[in-house]
């Protein structure tokens, strides 16, 4: 304690490290008459991976743009790295990495040039950006594409380049807006692996997604956002525990009227959900449900027992599925 204060005194005025990198209270965003974000409260702490899970149009990108200090809030309060985005945009942005939903790469430049010129925007020296660029190309496994034109890259490679670019300034907070949307499974897994490494190295991640598996894989904590409001918050496991049963039995019957069948299943689980093509029975023991259905003489065309996921939490809270 004493030693620390002596050290600080010797080093001159030192800003106390901010532990809440993002603090939003009743944050709002409107576009004309449309309210895209309708009063959200979020705190992102240093070192965690924090997610926004929600369907298209939920207001995820609007929120990310406000936090990235490129779009002014329409209401509420927002502090990023302890600063006010409205007043100190350049200072905040110099310490953020942003991987926007669209890649926004410069298609007239090569892969490496994209990193070099971008690093210069942060005031880094030419030597330093060159060193960082090569390091980051290795990190996202694009070294052999360094001289390629961006137009010639596949979607997955473009995304990796965008992630590399967002890291050029060694950001304290990395914002990733739908990092793997539109990528094939292999490209997604490679990107997840890189993001996981960043997290291990201590970079704070703030990401949006409409993939529940992505949220479960990467996020320590997340909020579920729908129509501009937060409907639930917690760790993936906590959310599942609080809002769903341990297991789910998915039943497909060879009938059009799944609702009619579902009416007879209510006693088998804690909850029954009817989807257009199947019935979900939520219970602690899914196998027992399957067996009971069989005993009732109802022959399901297919039966699947699985653990509850965030998809089930979303369905429970909003009555809709994430993919809609």
């Amino acid at each position: 304690m004493g030693a620390q204060s002596v050290e600080q005194a010797a080093a001159g005025p030192v800003e106390a490290p901010v532990e809440a990198l993002v603090e939003a209270r009743n944050l709002r965003k409107s576009y004309g008459a449309l309210e895209a974000v309708r009063g959200i409260d979020v705190t992102v702490r240093r070192g965690e991976a924090f997610g926004f899970l929600g369907p298209n149009g939920a207001g995820k990108s609007s929120t990310m743009r406000m936090i990235a200090a490129v779009s002014p809030a329409s209401g509420g309060s927002l502090r990023v790295l302890g600063m006010d985005p409205g007043a100190e945009g350049p200072a905040i942005r110099s310490r953020l990495g942003v991987c926007p939903q669209d890649n926004t790469l410069d298609s007239e430049l090569t892969v490496r040039e994209n990193l070099l010129v971008y690093g210069r925007f942060f005031g880094l020296s030419r030597a330093e950006v060159a060193r960082r660029a090569d390091e980051l190309l290795r990190f996202v496994q694009l070294t052999d594409k360094a001289g390629s034109r961006v137009d010639d890259l596949s979607g997955g490679l473009k995304r990796r380049l965008t992630v590399a670019r967002s890291l050029i300034n060694n950001p304290e907070l990395l914002i990733l807006d739908e990092p793997t949307t539109g990528l094939d499974p292999q490209a997604r897994h490679l990107l997840w692996d890189r993001l996981f490494r960043l997290k291990q190295q201590g970079t704070t991640l703030l990401l949006t997604t409409h993939y529940m598996d992505e949220a479960e894989q990467l996020c320590d904590r997340l909020v579920i956002i729908d129509e501009g409001v937060i409907v639930a918050e917690g760790s993936p496991a906590q959310l599942i525990r609080d809002h769903s049963s341990r297991e789910v039995c998915e039943l497909r019957f060879g009938v059009d009227d799944h609702a009619g069948v579902a009416a007879r299943l209510h006693h088998l689980g804690e909850r029954v959900e009817v989807l257009p093509d199947r019935v979900l029975v939520y219970a602690e023991d899914g196998e027992a449900v399957a067996a009971a259905v069989h005993e009732m003489g109802l022959s399901a065309r297919s039966t699947l027992v699985r653990r509850s996921t965030l998809e089930d939490v979303f369905l429970r809270l909003t009555g809709r599925s994430l993919a809609d």
Binding site: Y31, P90, S94, D102, G123, N169
Partner: protein, 269 residues
């Protein structure tokens, strides 16, 4: 963690300079091609219109209405001004919309410490460099054709750049405001082409019916043509030229303010 090596806190001044490598990298892809076009086109124009057409015009006794010059001398500086204007149109319309809508490179840039005004100034810097190249190459052609009269003619190059910028900044504002590129086609047909033909480059605007003459005189290109012609031929009318420069500077300034607003609105929504 090595966050200590993160970027320095931004000094509000250097933010424009931080774009130097970016714009230089983009310029490097195109400058050679445009330098060649910038040379070949004026040569063709001057041969066809100045020398070919000029022979007829001069033998028809039009010297007096051209202010006592050959047709080649009359048309050549006007063509320099129109060439820079057209270059400014090209550089300030599609590329600006592209950086907003297609490539979205501006969106990438505002995610860094850069502010929209820094980006505007940086991009205008690149445009000014392009315009300088166009004007300088055209000027060399004028020297080769024996049109330019030194020392005043040297000032035709910066005057040409001013003409270009007077078109660039308002067009930048237009491009930053416009939703769809079809607006550019319309502007080209009803704006650029008539301006090119009727701003005094090919014949004195006094030949036009009065209302059209007044309309032509409102256009910045008319003032550009007059300014560049006087300087190139070594016969500047200093008081009138001061007026032309002031008028062109007004277009630059108003255009800049409009572009600044339009870009901030478009990117910061």
């Amino acid at each position: 963690m090595s966050t200590a090596t993160a970027s320095r806190p931004p000094a509000p001044t250097g933010l424009v300079w931080r774009q130097f490598d970016h714009w230089r990298a983009r310029w490097r892809r195109t400058w050679r091609g445009s330098a060649i076009t910038n040379f070949v086109l004026p040569v063709l124009y001057l041969l066809a219109m100045g020398v070919g057409l000029g022979a007829y015009v001069d033998s028809g006794g039009a010297r007096a209405s051209l202010g006592g010059t050959d047709y080649l001398d009359f048309i050549a500086p006007g063509l320099l001004a129109t060439a820079v204007m057209q270059n400014a149109v090209g550089a300030s319309t599609w590329p600006v919309m592209g950086a907003i809508k297609w490539d979205k490179t501006y969106h990438a840039m505002i995610a860094t410490p850069l502010r929209t005004r820094d980006i505007l100034i940086g991009n205008l810097g690149l445009i000014a460099a392009r315009l300088t190249l166009t004007a300088a190459v055209f000027w060399v052609v004028l020297v080769i054709f024996g049109v330019a009269v030194l020392p005043w003619a040297v000032l035709a190059v910066p005057a040409g750049v001013l003409v270009g910028l007077a078109h660039s900044t308002p067009l930048f504002a237009f491009a930053a405001w416009l939703e769809r590129e079809t607006g550019f086609m319309l502007f080209y047909r009803i704006g650029v082409v008539p301006m090119f033909l009727f701003s005094g480059a090919f014949f004195p605007v006094s030949q036009l019916p009065d209302p059209l003459e007044w309309l032509a005189q409102v256009m910045p290109l008319y003032h550009g043509v007059e300014l560049v012609r006087g300087l190139t031929l070594g016969t500047p009318d200093l008081l009138a030229d001061l007026g032309h420069v002031a008028y062109l500077a007004l277009w630059c300034g108003v255009g800049f303010l409009l572009a600044d607003r339009a870009l901030a609105r478009r990117l910061g929504g």
